[in-house]
Symmetry: C2
Subunit: 339 residues, 2 copies
């Protein structure tokens, strides 16, 4: 084995020594090569190659202050909705030669806080976050410390933070209206905790739509809170729905992963969809239309959502902006039956 692990990473002064110039000159070669004569530049570059020199980002950042990295915290990277958003962010950042550090909070405020702190300590330019709590004081504090913060997928309650969101009330409302139009009068809603704003908004949107259709939300809407917003959560939630007295005829799911779980449980229980139970998802992920029972779902402009968020983050001018996109109900067989 001929690999030799170096005792220490080469520093700029090692390069300077080898090339027979000052550290300032090496720094200039790195950052403003035009201010250095071709001969010197070449000599320095040779030394850099020889020593396999990689500049220390911390040192650079410490002195220069700037960094071209942004952080994003989403609820769950394993959820296609969030990864699509992340791709949108990445694409916009790449255009500006910035890079993204991505992390998932798992809906746990402590985890979110930990990543927020990590990012802040490392001096990211800004943060995009899907808050795990309804309260965003801690984010406002970060903003007050001079970082740019953009709320993802939820409007800002106060007016100090910019946000990019989709109208969740409208999305859930459209879904509810659709179900009512099909004759459903009692609808279960597999939802996450209301501390997550999207969940609260969707519940409200449903209730409002039911009310304006002349139904009493108290009876027409049965909200079932699930612990995790994925397929497993959906399975467990649906089992509880099936046990309900005065069983609902439709189940609305807070996202498509949850709906996937619902479909699974219904199939296992031998209940036909939609005749025995209609199912609606949310997000319209790639595979929603390809399922055994193609899923009616609320489509959101995911990629664009991330893209605009990054856009806002990079925006020079510091005004607070709220962007709201409109969702679109995509109707498929999980509510209408074989077409």
């Amino acid at each position: 084995m001929t690999t030799t692990v170096p005792r220490r990473r080469a520093s700029i002064s090692d390069v300077a020594r080898l090339a027979g110039v000052s550290v300032g000159t090496v720094s200039n070669v790195l950052n403003r090569p035009d201010r250095v004569s071709p001969t010197t530049r070449e000599r320095v570059q040779a030394a850099i190659g020889e020593l396999d020199f990689v500049p220390n980002g911390s040192a650079r950042q410490l002195r220069a202050g700037t960094i071209t990295t942004a952080g994003a915290i989403v609820l769950d990277v394993a959820n296609p909705f969030f990864t699509d958003v992340a791709r949108g962010i990445e694409d916009r950042l790449e255009e500006a030669d910035h890079t993204l550090m991505l992390a998932s909070s798992d809906e746990e405020p402590e985890r979110e806080a930990r990543y927020l702190r990590l990012f802040e300590e490392h001096g990211v330019q800004g943060l995009m976050v899907v808050p795990a709590t309804s309260d965003v004081e801690h984010l406002e504090a970060i903003r007050a410390r001079g970082l740019r913060v953009v709320l993802l997928d939820r409007p800002s309650p106060s007016d100090t933070l910019s946000s990019v969101a989709v109208d969740d009330r409208a999305g859930a409302g459209a879904a509810a209206q659709h179900l009512v139009g099909l004759g459903h009068e009692r609808i279960a809603f597999l939802n996450g905790p209301h501390t997550i704003r999207q969940c609260a908004d969707r519940a409200e949107g449903m209730a409002a739509a039911l009310a304006s259709a002349g139904l009493d939300p108290e009876h027409a809407l049965v909200e079932v809170t699930i612990d995790s917003l994925n397929a497993e959560g959906g399975q467990r939630g649906t089992e509880r729905v099936l046990d309900l007295a005065d069983r609902p005829t439709a189940v609305m799911c807070v996202n498509d992963l949850t709906a996937l779980g619902a479909l699974r449980t219904l199939r296992a229980a031998g209940i036909p969809v939609p005749s025995g139970m209609a199912v609606v998802g949310y997000d319209d992920v790639t595979f929603a239309g390809e399922l055994a029972t193609p899923l009616t779902s609320v489509r959101q402009p995911t990629h664009l959502l991330g893209y605009r968020a990054a856009d806002l983050l990079l925006d020079e001018d510091e005004t607070v902006v709220h962007v709201t996109f409109q969702p679109e109900l995509v109707v498929r067989e999980s509510t209408t039956g074989t077409s």
Copy 2:
């Protein structure tokens, strides 16, 4: 608007001044609180709160040298396979109180190189990467500079880098064998470029399985190279398969997203699955079993893959280790028809 953006982030010396102690003491309060008397500690903490002080990670890292962050570069964060791997990594890192910076190379070597450099400059403890190229010299160079590097989802060609992988030859071989057993004698393989090792290995595995079943791989295997390893790529690839003279009777897909695209195209063309064309996927993602035609797929221990990779990265002892997991063929109706 009462928000005041501070001129400058508070530093440790601001805290020291306000608390009437030295910077060394503040640092001690931060890192070894037990060495500071309760009274002083309290005073310092009050000052920290007052100034809303957040330590500067760059400075800390510059001086202390260490950092508890690892980087991972995968081909595409929007692919469930990679996000599951990422979750495995995150979970293991979290146990060790480390954090993850995640990025996707999009299968582009330049993008990969850019992120590698970024991570290295920022002094991550180690890197886990799914290489976008067959050549890993650049990764060995990083290793030689003292960082830990673990190859993800592919065995190391040389023996200088640790790796965690799934036996791709075996996985593809099992799928091919299964298809041959069903009577297929001409199989299309929607594959990515062979510069990606997994793709090359899977092609080899299929060819070997076909040969050992007594078929001539030259004729029995039609490899169709697709540009992007997702649903769109699968759709376009399948269109090309349908145009082939002597049309294959089965299509093997390099991953489930691709298979999703294949199913889509087949349905649009009115070709029944599997009677008109059998389809096999790879990865066995969450929704594989719930599709209109449940998908036969090769299951890989994704979460475990990431978990073990992070494990290796954190491992104190620096020996080179290769971990290989065995995949498992999950047979469903996309090859066997209605059960």
